[in-house]
Amino acid sequence: MTAAPALHLSGCATIDGAPIFGPVSVEVPRGRWTCLLGPSGVGKSTVLRLMAGLGDEVTLEGTVGAGDGAPLGARVALMAQSDLLLPWLDVTGNVTLGARLRGQPPQLDRARAVIEQVGLTGHAAKRPDALSGGQRQRVALARTLMEDRPVVLLDEPFSALDARSRALMQDLAATLLAGRTVLHVTHDAAEAARLGHNVLLMTQGGITSVPPPDGPTPRQFDAPETLEYQGRLMRLLMVAQ
C-alpha cells in the first residue's frame, strides 16, 4: 500500500440542474477514519461517489481530489451497503475479483490470509447464497482489504446488519483498515460515535465538524463518553433541517 493521501471536496453538486448539495467543503485527513454523518437524502452518497470517480450524472461546480494532487484513480476501494458479491463466484472468487478484472493473476495465498482475518476460514469455497448477511458483508470487507488501496470509501456498509453483527463488523473494520484514509458515510449517530477519528455532520445547512472524544477507536459502545457524544450528535441531527 502506498502512503494514504488526504481527500477534499468543495463546491455545489447538481443532477440535471436539480441541486443535490452545497456549497460544502469536506476535508478528510490522511490515514484517519472520518465519518460523514447525516440524514437520508442530504447528499452523502453523492459526496462519496464523486470521490470514487463515479457519479458521471453529477455536475460538480468545485473541486474534488487527493491532498497530494495526484489522481485518485487507482488508489480507492469501495464498500457499499449492498455487499455486491457475485452469486456465481465462491468466497475466494469474490475476494480476488479485482485482480481478475485487471487481468492480473489472483493472489490466492493472500486471499486465504485475508479470509482468515475476517473470520471466514472454512467458508472459502462457499457461494454467497450459502452465507448469512453478516458473513456476506465480511466477504465484502475481505474483498476491500484484498484491493490494498490507501483510500477506502464506505457507504453505509453495516446498516443492513443486526445490532450484534454490526458492532462486530465495526470492530473488525476499524482494526483492519487502520492507517488508511477512510471516508465512512453513515446515518447512524452510534456508529459515528464509535468509529470516527473525525465526524463531519452533513445537513441541508452544510457540513460542520463535531470533534469526538479522545482515545483509540473503535470506542466502547457503552462507555459514558461515547454515549454522551452519541447523544450530542443525535441532538444536532434533530435540530438540523
Binding site: R49, A52, G53, L54, G73, A74, V76, A77, L78, A80, S82, L84, L86, W88, L97, G98, R100, L101, R102, G103, E147
Partner: protein, 243 residues
C-alpha cells in the same frame, strides 16, 4: 414424485375427455380418431414414424444449436459496441416485421429440399428471441456491480466477460427455453413447404391419404419431442446456473 402423479393424472383426464368427445359426438375416424386408434397406429407404424422423427429432431437440434450460438454472439456484439447497436438494432427489429413463415418458400428455393432449408428455418425463428432476451439481460447489469468494477480499474472487455455475461445468463436461459418451443415450429413449416422426410412431411402425406390416425400419431410424437427438448434445456439451464 407428486409432479409425476399430477402429470399422469392430467394426461389420463385428457385422454378420457378425448375418447368421450369421439364417442359421444359419434365422430367418424377420418375427422377425429380416438386415442385408442392413434396409439395403435403409433405402435404399428413405429418404424416409419421413428425414421421421420429422427430427421425432424436432427433439423431442430442443429437449428437450435446454431441459432443459440449466433444469438449469443450477436447479443454480446450489440452489448459491447454502441456503434453495432445503432447500426444493427433497427435492422434486427425491422427483420421481425417479415414473418419467418413467409421466408420458407424462398429458403427452400435457395437451400433445396434437404436438411439445410429446415435448419435455416429453425435457426431464423429462434434467432430473434434468443438475441433479444440475452441482449436485454446484458443491458440490465445491476449498476452497483459495474461501479465496483470501475473502482477496481477493470477494462470494459473484462467487465463484459466477467460480470455482464455471467449476470445475463438467466436471460440467455429464458431465450433458450423459448427457442426449444419455437425451433420445432420452424422445422415443421420448412418441411411443409418442401421436403421428402420429417414429421411435417409425414403429417402432410398422411393427411393427403386420409390417414388421420397416422397424422395424429405423428403430431403426438412431435409434441412429446418438443416437451422433452424444453424440459432438458430447462434442466440444463438450472444445473448450469447452480454449478
Amino acid at each position: 414424485m407428486m409432479a409425476v402423479v399430477r402429470i399422469a393424472g392430467v394426461t389420463l383426464l385428457a385422454l378420457l375427455g378425448w375418447q368421450a368427445v369421439v364417442t359421444l359426438a359419434e365422430l367418424p375416424r377420418f375427422i377425429l380418431p380416438g386415442p385408442g386408434l392413434v396409439f395403435t397406429t403409433l405402435w404399428t407404424s413405429r418404424a416409419l414414424i421413428t425414421e421421420h422423427a429422427l430427421v425432424t429432431a436432427t433439423e431442430v437440434l442443429l437449428g437450435l444449436g446454431l441459432g443459440a450460438a449466433l444469438g449469443f454472439a450477436s447479443a454480446i456484439l450489440l452489448a459491447a459496441s454502441p456503434a453495432a447497436r445503432s447500426l444493427l438494432r433497427p435492422i434486427l427489429v425491422f427483420s421481425q416485421a417479415v414473418p419467418v413463415f413467409a421466408l420458407a418458400p424462398i429458403l427452400t428455393l435457395w437451400l433445396g429440399y434437404g436438411l439445410l432449408s429446415k435448419v435455416a428455418m429453425a435457426l431464423l425463428i429462434i434467432y430473434f428471441p434468443v438475441t433479444s432476451s440475452f441482449f436485454d439481460a446484458l443491458m440490465r447489469t445491476p449498476p452497483g456491480w459495474l461501479e465496483l468494477a470501475r473502482v477496481m480499474n477493470a477494462t470494459p472487455a473484462r467487465i463484459l466477460w466477467r460480470i455482464r455475461v455471467p449476470a445475463a445468463m438467466p436471460g440467455f436461459a429464458s431465450g433458450l427455453r423459448l427457442a426449444a418451443v419455437y425451433a420445432p415450429i420452424g422445422a415443421i413449416i420448412g418441411e411443409w413447404v418442401g421436403a421428402s422426410r420429417g414429421l411435417g412431411y409425414l403429417m402432410l402425406l398422411a393427411n393427403g391419404r386420409a390417414k388421420i390416425d397416422l397424422m395424429f400419431a405423428a403430431l403426438l410424437v412431435l409434441a412429446v419431442l418438443t416437451l422433452l427438448l424444453h424440459a432438458s434445456i430447462d434442466a440444463a439451464c438450472r444445473r448450469l446456473w447452480k454449478s
